[in-house]
Structures are given as structure tokens and as C-alpha cells.
């Protein structure tokens, strides 16, 4: 028998890069995707939940999709990221009429139920604001014993992308992120520092197009649109594939070098609100709580993406 598959829940706000993360996680033999939960981020909760269902339908993924928190814990809801992800939150592909239904359970209760009933630890993989995870931890602290790790996309030990200090997923619910950072379980941070290195240039799209299956078609439709907006907003020729770094790390941790350090989220309402302060130099005596991604093997990452897409052939 092969080694035990790692159980995970993707908590997301699809989102082009979220969709690729779902695609990669659903079929990989090292992973067992238990479900997908949604939280307001890139777009409204209704839109992103529909997007998650669309992705599951077109890729024939059969896991519960549970709708979650419709707004952040404390902050006022931020504007949605329509300039990056379009009006639907997943502009680009043309999806067939949706027949999939959202699961009746609230995302927070799905996370709690999955953890409490699982005989194995579960990895939580937030690729959007961490409101659902924070709510679940506060509502049912016993789930902490079942959480193997929280591997998230967000933050930055350098600079932000919403303010000079703050990255989108964190500032979208900084208090929720603070709850996750201090929860006591291993936290792995895929920050902008590395996700900005995996830029999906047209050559990457051409490479994946050659695979010619339903996953590669979706990948190309998504990334062609994503690259247009990334070019328009940031002037980049290739959009960064932020969220899939979490799944790549779970599939092959050697792709991403992490460093364990003390990190905290600034929730003090000053200029750097939402910044992930990462103590790279060990200046603080505080307990080291976050494995911060420092380096990524870019070619290895694209190979992993390609492997995942080929699993749909």
C-alpha cells in the first residue's frame, strides 16, 4: 500500500488561482480532498460558491461544497477584486449550466464536523480570507487536536499588494488571521514573497494546452483571462499562481523552503494594519509559530502543476 493520503479541506474564494488549487488537490494520489468551503474574498459569497461548484462540475470532482462566512469578523467588507477576477469572480471559461448543489451545512460547521469525526488529522488549506477557519477554531476549540497544519496562501514578509504593508487575504480579515496565527497548531505561510515568483507566462499556458484534457482546457481559459487583468493592473506578462503553491507544498514539500519563525498579524489599526510581521532574524524571544515560505523551485512547481493536470487525462 502507498503511504496514507493527507486529508485536507480547501477553504477558498474562487478566484482563478483558487480554481487551479482545487484542480490540483482533487485527483492527486497523495491527497484526499474532503471538501471545499467558501468565504467572502475575491467576490461575494454567492458568486464564489457558484464558482467552486462550476469547477467541481466541469472537472467531475465529487466533494461537498459548503458556503461559509459572508463577511469578515471585525473589519468592514472590502471591495471585491473584480479588476483581477472579473465580475463573476471566475471570468474566462464558459461553464455549462450548473446542476451541482451547494451542501446544506455551513462551512464553519462542516470544518468542525469533519475534524471531530475524522480518525486522522486534517490539514486546512485556506486560500482566501481565514474567517471560516477562525470561526471554527473559536466555536469548537477541540478541533485543534485534529488539525495537522494550516497551510495558507496569504501575507508577505516583504511587502503587501493592497497596502504597502498588507496582502489581500490577510487584510480582508486580519482578526481572523490573527486567530489562526495564535491557534497553537503548525501554520505554514505561502506569502507573496514566493507566489510572485510563479508567474504564468504565455509559454506556460502553451505548455499546459498541449496536454489537451478538461483540466488543461480550464487551466488555459482561466489563465488567459487572468493574464490580461494582471497585465492591465500590475503590468506583468504572467499572472502569479498564488493559491496553488499551498497544494504544491502538500504534494512535494521539497519544492518550497520554509523557515520556522515568530510571526504575528498587525491588528492594531495603524498604518500597517493587516501586515504579517515575520521575525526572520529571531529578534523576539516569542515562541516560533509560523513556517514562512522563503524560496520556491519554480521549474519544479510547474512540473507539479503539469503532473496534476495530466491526472485528468
Amino acid at each position: 500500500m502507498s503511504e496514507q493520503r493527507r486529508r485536507l479541506i480547501i477553504d477558498c474564494d474562487p478566484g482563478h488561482d483558487d480554481a487551479i488549487a482545487i484542480m490540483m488537490a482533487a485527483r492527486h494520489p497523495k491527497l484526499e480532498l474532503l471538501g471545499i468551503t467558501t468565504a467572502r474574498g475575491n467576490q461575494t459569497i454567492e458568486k464564489i460558491t457558484k464558482n467552486a461548484l462550476d469547477v467541481c462540475q466541469v472537472l467531475d470532482i465529487h466533494v461537498p461544497v459548503c458556503m461559509g462566512m459572508t463577511r469578515p469578523l471585525m473589519a468592514e467588507p472590502r471591495l471585491v477584486e473584480a479588476r483581477i477576477h472579473g465580475e463573476t469572480g471566475l471570468d474566462g471559461p464558459k461553464f455549462a449550466p450548473l446542476t451541482r448543489k451547494v451542501d446544506a451545512r455551513h462551512a464553519v460547521d462542516f470544518i468542525i464536523e469533519s475534524c471531530l469525526t475524522s480518525d486522522q488529522p486534517i490539514t486546512l488549506c485556506p486560500t482566501g480570507p481565514m474567517t471560516n477557519i477562525a470561526m471554527a477554531i473559536r466555536k469548537e476549540p477541540r478541533i485543534l487536536d485534529k488539525i495537522e497544519a494550516i497551510v495558507f496562501m496569504g501575507g508577505s514578509y516583504q511587502h503587501g499588494n493592497v497596502t504597502p504593508a498588507a496582502e489581500f487575504n490577510i487584510i480582508a480579515d486580519a482578526e481572523a488571521a490573527a486567530i489562526v496565527f495564535t491557534c497553537g497548531r503548525p501554520v505554514v505561510m505561502m506569502g507573496l514573497d514566493i507566489t510572485r515568483q510563479v508567474l504564468c507566462y504565455p509559454s506556460i499556458i502553451e505548455r499546459m494546452a498541449k496536454i489537451d484534457n478538461k483540466a488543461s482546457h480550464l487551466f488555459c481559459d482561466l489563465m488567459t483571462f487572468f493574464n490580461k487583468t494582471q497585465k492591465a493592473v500590475f503590468g506583468w506578462d504572467g499572472g502569479p499562481l498564488h493559491d496553488p503553491t499551498t497544494i504544491a507544498y502538500l504534494i512535494d514539500p521539497s519544492l518550497i523552503t520554509t523557515k520556522l519563525m515568530f510571526a504575528e498579524v498587525d491588528i492594531t489599526h495603524g498604518q500597517s494594519y493587516g501586515r504579517t510581521n515575520c521575525d526572520i532574524f529571531g529578534l523576539s524571544d516569542a515562541q516560533k509559530n509560523v513556517h514562512v515560505a522563503m524560496k520556491i523551485d519554480v521549474e519544479g512547481f510547474w512540473n507539479t502543476v503539469e503532473t496534476c493536470i495530466r491526472l485528468y487525462s
Partner: protein, 321 residues
């Protein structure tokens, strides 16, 4: 008949408040939800169940809720209410049992089920209500109003120089509730003792009034006065004269028998979440209209500034008789 949810961090004065509400013929209590605060969550739930038994009424379901604040570390008031919240009288364990459902889910389910809006009375930190509102924003329209014991007017020290205990337990939760737009009635801490300083507004009990309640010779009255012995000693030491302050029972009188309100005013109240000295303060602005910086000031809270002491004590006596 109005229907109520009561959210409580059940310690000594909460226990009396529950008895008052449960025994009031004009009030239908749909459920009691518990929250950390005066005591830890398990103790609060146990005390709520015990209070229902002491009220000698048909059981009301008790749902256990949040065991800690949203962000800050948990505090408690064991020095004020005793280690068990009830002055360590060695009460037997209640035979009633709590429901399996989490209080957040119960609040959301009950509000969605009910056709007419429900009144909510909050006797502890506002964590349950705040997170229920966040988890299910649609329930807002099903809440007629919230009567809450908590906060303080300017100049009355509570837990910190400016913050009262229930708010300071979870200021972030309080901010969510105060900013929600739900009609709020706030009973500040000082109104539950000295009121506005006039004799008729004193709601705290003196030694003679405590003796009179004991002389009722009911199980309820003995339970009420025994359970508040630690609180009685605390209040007496704090003020320098023998007296027992009962904040949560006064909130029940305000909610159920508003004719006992001597005075009130509306204001724009915010909870400070930032200040090194003022974290957890209920910042009260009595002005309306437009502020100099252009902000439109909307009064969001009715603040009770005085309660008729004799009226309150009559209500209390009736409930314990």
C-alpha cells in the same frame, strides 16, 4: 406575549435574573444560552440549569455557547461571585441537562423558525450574539431588540478606569453588537447600584432588605441570598457599607417591566477597540445631527440612566416569593 432569548454567563446575580424572567407570566423564554464571563462556560451552563430548577417552572432548553472571547484572553469574576459563581454553597449538580446543539446554531435556528421578531436579553459578554450575527446575518431582522447589562457612563469606573466587565470581557464582540443597527437598550453598571445618585433610584439592597427577602422562607429566596453572599461581601467592601448590587436582575426589570424605568436617553455609543487607556469603553455621544467632521451621528442605543429602586425591589420580591 413577547418571546425572549436570554444569554447569560450564569453566576450569582444572573441566577436571580433567570428566576425573575422564568417566573414572569408575561414573558415566554424560548431558550437560555450560556457564555463564558463571570465563570468558565461549563460552570455557567451548570448554574443556568440549577437556576431553572430553583425557579420551579417548566424546563427551558439551555444551549452552551462560546467558551472564550473573539480575540483577547479570557478573564473571569471568580473573586466577585466565588469559585463556582454561586458563593460556594455546595449545591448538588442539577438533574436537568444541557442541549447538544451549540448556542450559536441554536440562536440562529430559533430566530429563523420564529415568525415574529424575538427579544434578546444579554447578561454577560456579547460573544454569542456577535458571532451568531456574523455567521448568519439574516437573523438580524428577527431580533426585535436587545436589552443588555453592560457598559458604563463616563466617570464611572468598572473593570478598568473606563470599561465595564461584560464589555471588557470581549470588546470586539460588543463592537459588533453595538454597530449592528439592532435596537439596543443598555443598562450601565452604575445604574444597577446608585442609579443617578437620587434616593429613589438606588437599586442595591441594604442589610434590612436582604433580611426581608430571607424572611420569605422560600427555597428561591434562600437560594438567591445564599448564592450572592460573595457578591454581597465584595460590594460591601468596595463601597464601605453593607449592600448587595444586582446588575442582571435590574436588566430583567428593564426588559420585562419598563414602567420601572425612571429616566433614559438615546445616544450614539461605540466600543473602543484601540486605545491603551480606553479599550473596552462604551464611548457615549449624546449629540445628534452632523458632527464638525461631517459624520452623521445616529443614536443607536437607549441608555437607562435611572431605575425606580422600590419598583425593582418589589419585582424581585414577587419573583422570590
Amino acid at each position: 406575549m413577547p418571546k425572549y432569548l436570554i444569554d447569560t454567563d450564569t453566576a450569582s446575580d444572573d441566577a436571580i435574573a433567570l428566576i425573575m424572567a422564568l417566573r414572569d407570566p408575561s414573558c415566554e423564554v424560548l431558550a437560555i444560552t450560556t457564555v463564558f464571563g463571570n465563570v468558565d462556560i461549563e460552570t455557567a451552563t451548570k448554574n443556568a440549569l440549577l437556576s431553572i430548577e430553583m425557579a420551579e417552572v417548566l424546563p427551558v432548553p439551555v444551549y452552551q455557547g462560546m467558551d472564550r472571547p473573539i480575540l483577547r484572553p479570557r478573564i473571569d469574576a471568580l473573586d466577585i461571585h466565588g469559585q463556582d459563581g454561586l458563593s460556594q454553597q455546595n449545591y448538588p449538580n442539577p438533574s436537568l441537562k444541557k442541549e447538544a446543539e451549540h448556542a450559536l446554531n441554536a440562536i440562529i435556528r430559533i430566530l429563523r423558525q420564529e415568525k415574529e421578531p424575538i427579544r434578546i436579553i444579554c447578561l454577560g459578554p456579547l460573544t454569542n450574539i456577535a458571532l451568531a450575527l456574523r455567521k448568519a446575518p439574516d437573523i438580524q431582522t428577527k431580533i426585535q431588540d436587545i436589552t443588555l447589562m453592560g457598559g458604563a457612563q463616563l466617570g464611572y469606573a468598572g473593570y478598568t478606569e473606563v470599561a465595564e466587565f461584560n464589555i471588557f470581557c470581549d470588546p470586539e464582540a460588543a463592537a459588533i453588537v453595538f454597530n449592528s443597527g439592532i435596537p439596543l437598550t443598555m443598562i450601565p453598571l452604575e445604574v444597577c447600584s446608585i442609579g443617578n445618585g437620587k434616593v429613589e433610584a438606588i437599586t442595591s439592597l441594604n442589610a434590612k432588605e436582604i433580611a426581608a427577602l430571607r424572611a420569605l422562607h422560600t427555597q428561591r429566596a434562600q437560594f438567591a441570598m445564599n448564592s450572592t453572599q460573595t457578591l454581597y461581601a465584595f460590594c460591601s467592601k468596595l463601597t464601605g457599607f453593607k449592600n448587595l448590587q444586582l446588575p442582571d436582575p435590574t436588566a430583567i426589570t428593564v426588559a420585562l417591566r419598563p414602567q420601572g424605568i425612571l429616566s433614559s436617553y438615546t445616544a450614539y455609543v461605540q466600543v473602543d477597540l484601540v486605545g491603551p487607556l480606553t479599550y473596552g469603553q462604551t464611548v457615549i455621544n449624546v449629540r445628534g445631527g452632523t458632527a464638525l467632521d461631517g459624520q452623521v451621528i445616529r443614536h443607536n442605543v437607549k441608555i437607562i440612566s435611572a431605575i425606580d429602586g422600590a419598583f425593582f425591589k418589589a419585582h424581585l420580591t414577587e419573583s422570590l416569593s
